[in-house]
């Protein structure tokens, strides 16, 4: 799947920008604050209806304007016209697919698969377990509706159970303790399904990450992803394992009044040649690992969905030496369509650029083609 055309109106610095893209690599070059990332942001909006970062829709409207409008033409087997329209006054965002308004964002998710690699990815390898769970959950959810539903049900169970535990902390009674037994069973049932999904996913995903890492770094560095969850005796007995872990921690749970056992406390430990990345990794290794995770995600989704996602890369070359930058740009040839922002042309000399690739210069919200 590719994005052929993009129109931005009153979107950040872009008051009126029209772009046609290559089906291969599109390099978007410009100084800081000139409107490079806004183009990636716009593409992300059209693929998912959502903002790429946590910022609000209103912030994306050009200063002193009242609305923004994005239009994009996707080409897969057929052509799809998409449009996002946001209006300041009503604070409403409307999404249109082929001129028909789409009311539920969930019906768009997965239609235009997209993978992003942005500077905020550093939280995946450097941040908290919650950041890693968010990343892993989002990749699994993109290829499995069932997982998303179980996850939602599990989260509800956790909330109910936590409320019960805090009631028990204030006042312990036999009745409430019996209720807790029931929520234990519920947590074990849904939790086991989540853990099984995660194990299955990581078995596949790790191979994709290893391959990506190998392609980025020729030296013999072997990345690994270790799944840290409750003690598991057997793949088919996870439910029992959760229950026995709950039994062991029950005293602590009652004293502290919070959930202490379950996949909501899982972590994913990344390592290189057996050394834990978070403790021993250099900046460059972190960055390479983040890139390998996203490439891994790309090829995983490609296999699961049977088509190539669009790849958005925000300022990947900034922190890398020329050797690695060159490796990435070679690797990108297998990718299909990608959008890559860069701060200056000095990097360009080190990249292997094809005739079919496109170079776009962005300055003060105005874009022009360089090649």
């Amino acid at each position: 799947m590719t994005l052929n055309k993009l129109f931005l109106t009153n979107f950040r610095l872009h008051e009126n920008t029209t772009l046609e893209f290559s089906n291969n690599l599109n390099y978007i070059v410009g100084g800081n604050g000139q409107g490079k990332t806004s183009i990636l942001e716009a593409i992300y909006y059209l693929c998912t209806t959502r903002n790429i970062s946590q910022s609000s829709d209103q912030e994306a409207v050009t200063f002193s304007k009242k609305y923004f409008e994005l239009n994009g033409n996707f080409k897969d087997l057929t052509t799809n016209k998409t449009k996002v329209f946001y209006d300041n006054e009503s604070n409403r965002k409307n999404y249109f697919l082929d001129d028909k308004q789409i009311y539920r964002a969930s019906s768009i998710i997965g239609k235009f698969p997209v993978v992003t690699l942005t500077p905020s990815d550093h939280s995946i390898t450097m941040g908290s377990p919650a950041d890693r769970r968010k990343f892993i959950d989002s990749v699994i959810s993109q290829s499995s509706d069932t997982y998303l539903k179980i996850l939602m049900e599990y989260n509800k169970t956790i909330k109910q159970r936590s409320s019960l535990l805090s009631q028990l902390k204030d006042h312990r009674s036999a009745g409430l303790l019996q209720e807790l037994d029931a929520w234990d069973l519920m947590l074990a049932k849904n939790g086991a399904e989540i853990i099984r999904h995660r194990i299955n996913f990581l078995n596949d995903f790790e191979l994709f990450v290893k391959e990506a890492y190998h392609n980025l770094m020729e030296e013999v560095e072997v990345p690994e992803i270790f799944y840290s969850t409750i003690q598991i005796s057997d793949f088919s007995k996870i439910e029992e394992d959760i229950l026995s872990a709950l039994e062991k921690r029950r005293k602590d749970e009652l004293i502290r009044g919070t959930n202490l056992v379950g996949p909501h406390r899982d972590d994913f430990v990344f390592s290189i040649n057996g050394l834990e990345l978070k403790k021993f990794g250099s900046q460059g290794q972190h960055k390479t690992f983040q890139i390998a995770l996203r490439f891994g995600q790309f090829f995983f989704m490609n296999e699961r969905l049977g088509r190539k996602p669009i790849f958005l890369m925000d300022d990947v070359f900034g922190e890398l030496d020329t050797y690695r930058a060159n490796k990435i740009s070679e690797y990108l040839k297998d990718i299909g369509q990608a959008f890559i922002t860069m701060t200056d042309f000095s990097n360009v000399a080190n990249l292997s650029i094809n005739e079919t690739d496109r170079m776009i210069n962005v300055h003060g919200g105005v874009a022009e083609y360089v090649s």
Partner: protein, 198 residues
């Protein structure tokens, strides 16, 4: 235009009802205003009777005019099989099927610590004493298949286990006359897990 106060009050009261918005409330109020007195009286009468005449069955907590509801007092019902439901309205739904000839027990909700609904606020103690004193041999748990309903079923199953009764939960799966392709993944997944041999 200023709306006369009695009309405004009627509109306000009507719009408190479920699935009635401001506009519908206004239409209903105006319609009532133009209806003849006899119809109004009959409506007022029926509403007053609701609260005055209908209470709960002392055995099963179903809606009832008498001390025992029609189902509990019906000698033709099978008193050895009991179906546990969340609300009395669920009984109406199951009765419409004509597939169940046993008796019921209404819990009056499900376990939900977040909403303050616990064992004490539900009719669980009553269920236990009922099971101990009666000839009931089989219990069917017919709670909604959501997180809270599920956990309540698990709770009850564990609680009732020592009574050595036959305990089951209603099956879940695809609607009759439905198409596989239109069902959501979770439903199909559960239906596959809960398959039955032929």
């Amino acid at each position: 235009m200023q709306i006369p106060e009695p009309l405004q009050i009627a509109i306000d009261e009507l719009s408190k009802l479920p699935s009635i918005g401001r506009k519908t409330a206004m239409r209903l109020a105006l319609h009532l205003l133009s209806s003849d007195q006899e119809r109004i009286d009959s409506l007022i009468h029926s509403i007053a009777d609701l609260k005055a005449k209908i209470g709960f069955c002392t055995d099963c907590f179903n809606f009832s005019v008498n001390e025992l509801c029609d189902i509990c007092s019906n000698p033709k019902r099978d008193k050895t099989i009991l179906c546990v439901v969340e609300e009395a309205s669920d009984i109406i739904a199951i009765e419409r099927t004509n597939e169940f000839s046993g008796i019921y027990h209404v819990l009056g909700g499900v376990l939900s610590p977040l909403d303050g609904s616990s064992v004490e606020s539900l009719n669980i103690r009553e269920l236990l004493s009922r099971l101990r004193e009666s000839e009931i041999k089989e219990v069917i748990l017919a709670l909604n298949p959501n997180t809270e309903g599920e956990s309540t079923s698990l709770y009850l199953a564990k609680l009732l286990k020592p009574l050595s009764l036959n305990i089951s939960r209603i099956a879940r799966g695809l609607p009759i006359g439905g198409d596989l392709e239109f069902a959501d993944e979770a439903t199909i997944g559960r239906a596959v897990l809960g398959r039955i041999s032929l």
